[in-house]
């Protein structure tokens, strides 16, 4: 993984000192709250319902064991002993204090981490495939370009006060695990007819109150032009994005209003002036960054590999966990291991300091000291020898981290909702907990198969409900929580926005409604059809009838 040089270190340290000074000026009255607010947001510090919330960037979801231990230490020292992993591969602390924030940032800087641009109307943390670098089917490691974008976007002088926030995601696999079609800019690494790799560039995807799937504006961008092309897109957006209405300020509205072709023409005109110039990196710098992501030295499968095959055959619990949570690695003899942060009845994405330390230890022992954070709010150990899987599984079980529900109905994405968030209109977490408990029977979950259920506590859609196979949106109706169900959304390479199935359900009824939807699928499915396949084949009508006609 990437490691800071003296310049990266100096820059992050200077940013910590700058923020320390900004906090001091707020505390001593030189800054008003109105002036301070955008400054603290540029460092990920929110004032939420109960306390300050600090969002820390996990760049493209990659962490070292040392970094994860620091995240655990921060949870213990400055918070209440836990943290919340988010859909953008970040971690949030719910109970921080303003006066502690500079010290937290200094602690983070000591392990090459920061909270720079984790909020604010600027370029946010660039996200990626959690299996980057190890997925069997990927073209190359997308994190090289994520790191290039991270550095280019960090404290960019021109793009710190954009019309609205700006999110970029990069994938290099035909199976999109980074949701690039619902980002402001999605970058998909592709191969052209000549066999060279370059970038397909999508713009204008996003969720929120006007969900849209991104549009391709360039099929194949040569790699050397990445930053000049991004700078051109950002400049067109900065100058022309709407600033009169925050709900219409995202780039998706600009692209939609102009039309994809007209938007592309504006970007191309701007790009003509930037191409081959300033922001583009010298080849030596691209190579310098690429070298950090060179594949590690993998061992040949040893003689104890046979034990693994034997354990799979004889231990049903282990075999089920492998089936649900372990993914094929590009290297023979290795595996990608998902660690579910969705135990039955738990809070999706939450992890205690104890658990973070355990995962850091396990990574050190079994995964070359590397961990990934997924946009599904789980963790991944990317480089585990198959021969180590069984002992590791036993250790995970001891920490409550072996729930084998990856991709199943209880692997729920949920935003913090009204329990923590100042913008929410309803709670998300208790609904996730009740659904997780209702479907606790793992045999039933496995029988239902892949089913993505996503819950947002307000229209801003941080819980990605629009792209859940089953989406749930919490709304406030006369001071009571109601939940609207959408069906048919997906965030993968065939991204689609789900459709509202009908009137909303009360908090008491929503879990039954989800079960009705699931039972309808079971009645209607053919062969091994997944929920989403069945829905796309039969459409909403049978679900609608089952939900509303009986009443």
């Amino acid at each position: 993984m990437y490691s800071y040089d003296q310049y990266d270190t100096q820059l992050v340290n200077e940013r910590v000192a700058q923020f320390r000074d900004q906090v001091q000026r707020r505390l001593d009255g030189r800054l008003s709250e109105e002036e301070f607010r955008p400054l603290r947001l540029l460092n990920g510090l929110y004032l939420q319902l109960h306390a300050y919330m600090l969002r820390v960037a996990v760049p493209y979801g990659t962490l070292s064991s040392a970094q994860l231990r620091m995240l655990a230490q921060i949870a213990r020292r400055y918070d209440r002993g836990y943290g919340h992993f988010t859909t953008r591969q970040n971690i949030q602390y719910n109970w921080t204090k303003l006066e502690d924030a500079p010290d937290i940032l200094a602690d983070l800087a000591s392990v090459e981490m920061h909270a720079i641009q984790t909020s604010g109307n600027t370029i946010r943390n660039t996200t990626s495939d959690p299996y980057a670098g190890v997925a069997a089917e990927e073209l190359e490691d997308p994190r090289v370009y994520c790191e290039i974008i991270r550095q280019w976007s960090t404290l960019h002088p021109e793009f710190t006060f954009l019309p609205r926030k700006f999110k970029i995601a990069v994938t290099a696999s035909p199976n999109d695990r980074a949701a690039v079609k619902v980002h402001d800019i999605g970058i998909a690494i592709r191969k052209n007819a000549e066999g060279e790799t370059g970038f397909e560039i999508l713009v204008g995807g996003g969720l929120g109150r006007t969900p849209m799937v991104g549009k391709t504006i360039r099929d194949f961008l040569p790699k050397e032009h990445l930053l000049s092309y991004l700078e051109a897109i950002l400049r067109v957006y900065n100058l022309n994005g709407r600033r009169d209405n925050k709900y219409k300020a995202r780039i998706k509205i600009l692209v939609h209003d102009l039309g994809t072709d007209a938007f592309r023409e504006q970007v191309d005109a701007e790009w003509e002036n930037l191409r081959g110039k300033g922001p583009e990196l010298p080849p030596a710098e691209m190579e310098r960054i690429r070298a950090f992501f060179a594949p590690p030295e993998y061992e040949k499968p040893g003689s104890n590999h046979q034990d693994y095959i034997e354990k799979l055959r004889t231990n049903a619990g282990f075999a089920e966990w492998v089936r649900a949570n372990v993914v094929e690695h590009k290297q023979n003899g290795y595996a990608i291991v998902n660690i579910s942060l969705k135990p039955e009845g738990g809070i999706p994405g939450d992890a205690t300091a104890v658990q973070m330390d355990s995962v850091a230890d396990l990574a050190e022992k079994y995964s070359m000291a590397e961990i990934r954070v997924t946009h599904q709010q789980n963790l991944v150990l990317p480089n585990v020898r198959q021969a180590d899987l069984f002992v590791m599984w036993e250790e995970l079980r001891n920490q409550g981290l072996a729930t084998n529900n990856i991709g199943l109905i209880s692997d729920i994405i949920a935003c913090p909702g009204l329990d923590y968030c100042g913008l929410a209109t309803a709670r998300s977490i208790p609904v996730a907990q009740r659904i997780s408990t209702r479907f606790a029977d793992l045999k039933r979950q496995h029988d239902l198969g892949e089913l993505q259920l996503k819950i947002s506590g307000c229209i801003n859609a941080c819980g990605h409900h629009h792209v859940g196979h089953i989406g749930i949106l919490g709304v406030d109706r006369n001071n009571e929580e109601y939940y609207q169900i959408t069906l048919g959304g997906r965030a993968d390479e065939n991204a689609a926005i789900g459709k509202i199935i009908g009137r909303a359900f009360s908090s008491d009824d929503v879990v039954d409604a989800v079960e009705t939807v699931v039972n309808t699928y079971v009645d209607q499915r053919q062969d091994d059809e997944r929920f989403i396949d069945t829905y796309e084949r039969i459409g909403p009508k049978p679900f609608k009838e089952a939900l509303y006609d009986a009443a």
Binding site: A17, N121, E158, N238, R243, G278
Partner: protein
Amino acid sequence: MTLLKGGTPIEDSWVHLDDETAAPAGAAITVSFARWQAESEALKASGVTLGVRLTGDDAAEEITDDLNALQLVVIAFPAFTDGRGYSIARILRERYGYEGEVRATGNILRDQASLMTRCGFDAFDLAAHTDVADWLEGLKDITLEYQPAADRRRSVPQIRHA
């Protein structure tokens, strides 16, 4: 108001005309973008020293043919969160090579001084209560940058591979 240029408070020698008042002889004047569009030929012929005032709503590229005739471009920030001026300044400096004064006016904060300087602003119209020494300190907060910009400082990638 305090006008800061090149790090030093100076008197504003410019007369900022509204759209009706005639230009006083011998003065250095600025006019709005609208007035510039209507009267640029006459103004250029009048022999006075000229500047133009832009907002983010103005089509800044329409003054680029006249940049030789302009000693000052004033870019207004109606709110400190309105970042269009940063792009306008970079375009003037980097694409068109404009070397006259680029002045930021309106709602600008100390914590933006360094970003604005990097985008090519060299003069700042500070609100009356601004502590000038403190503002200048703000320029020193961050001494490295990953991106090349209008200030032509060497970026980190350039330093790495010098």
